[in-house]
Symmetry: C2
Subunit: 234 residues, 2 copies
DNA sequence: CGGCAGGTTGACGTGACTCAACATTAGTGG
DNA sequence: CCACTAATGTTGAGTCACGTCAACCTGCCG
């Protein structure tokens, strides 16, 4: 394996304020792994042997219920940690992590978590802040699910996606990884069918442009109007 | 103000493994506050000047949306921390905390959070573990909202409540603080009406016993059957 | 004893799920 | 390079769980 360079992780907020020599030590203990699209980084209920950092690609974190439903908890972008369950006192992963596109991840053995957070206060501070903001996210998700209709939730989901992984193109803002209607449905707690209908309707109105596993938001502002529920409901 | 005794907090998991002298120092910096029923411990958007420990009573944490909806995020039982938003890098409280019954809380100025977690590793470890499990809770909440129908969600909510604050009586397991149908609705993302109908139906079947701001679960097992969605749907 | 918060219950409408058929595109092997 | 197949996506029709609207009851507190 080609030896890893600290430049891979130097700019990231998780490792902010850590000396170059320490970064070398940190990355020296990492394994680099390629994960092909639709392959899993880790699996629900599996022993949490490692925690990960996404270097490139996009990962979908999905919870599977006993009765076969899949609920997407979040999407991970490059630079974010994942599989940090071990940090929260779990010994097993709480969800599946599936590569939404081909990915490169770094993996460290779980027991290094303690070492890192003891040795590098900024590491622990940063990661706990990250956990905190995920808690916030989860709570707003609950609020959304409780108070908004499907249309608004889907609109919100698209807005979140373009904010997180949007790429400007001449057509509009493209969600920068393959995403199906089914995926949208699993993010918003609805069905493939309803999601498809909404996207189609929006496409007719020129709000978005669809394609196979592809969504381009043409008019984010009008989408926001829908998300906020102040749509005229013609 | 009567001086506070370390015995108030000695047994709690948050302060587990901390020396008696340190406990004295910790509690020496706390203010004890009584909060009457329906009064607020803190308010959404308000400057997060303090974090709290609930000594007695029950607190409902509620998020208010701009359009007037109220969503109950969680109930706090004695011994739990609340208002720890400040610990997660927020300067303002993310929700309202309302006393569901008359309460006694301890309050510490937010800046002591850093002191405590730096001085007492077990304090920081315990609280972060708590945050972790709240994150888990929030995620399962999202999964529930996405996959289950109202009936199952309400059943789950009651089961959670009796697990957390159930008190055995001769009639069954009583939820040990005043709780209205409206409260149940806000926990489960439904309306007062639907909640009321469900409770009434269950009362007819002898599953629960209701009353004004009062719920007694008579047959937890049958409630679990409903919660799991393996009901015969007669 | 009046008033009000909390609770119940019916009638009705509808958003979104289900069931179902079909269209389109990507990928695969001959 | 084309035929075949499997994903993926679209769209219609029918149904139902739940929300909305509305009326009314009931126990509690001053």
């Amino acid at each position: 394996m080609a030896s890893l360079d600290r430049s891979l992780i130097a700019g990231l907020s998780v490792f902010e304020g850590i000396a170059a020599a320490d970064l070398d030590r940190i990355i020296g203990q990492a394994r680099s792994i390629r994960v092909a699209r639709d392959q899993r980084v880790f699996e629900q209920e599996q022993e949490a042997h490692s925690f990960f950092l996404l270097l490139d690609g996009h990962v979908r974190v999905v919870k599977s219920t006993p009765d076969g439903h899949e609920v997407t908890v979040r999407y991970i972008s490059p630079g974010e940690l994942l599989g940090i369950a071990s940090a929260l006192g779990r010994t097993t992963y709480p969800a599946n992590a599936i590569a939404a596109a081909d990915c490169v991840v770094l993996a460290w053995p779980s027991q290094l978590w303690l070492t890192f957070s003891a040795s590098f206060p900024s590491f622990s501070a940063n990661t706990y802040k990250a956990v905190g903001s995920r808690l916030q996210d989860a709570h707003s998700r609950v609020v959304e699910m409780s108070t908004e209709q499907v249309e608004q939730r889907v609109a919100h989901a698209l807005l979140k996606l373009i904010k997180q992984s949007g790429k400007k193109t001449e057509e509009g803002i493209l969600i920068d990884f393959p995403i199906s209607r089914q995926d949208v449905a699993e993010m918003t707690g609805t069905t493939l069918h309803t999601a498809s209908r909404l996207l189609s309707a929006w496409e007719d109105q020129g709000l978005v442009k669809g394609g196979r596993q592809k969504i381009v938001v043409v008019e984010p502002h009008r989408l926001l109007v829908i998300a906020e529920g102040r749509t005229s409901k013609s």
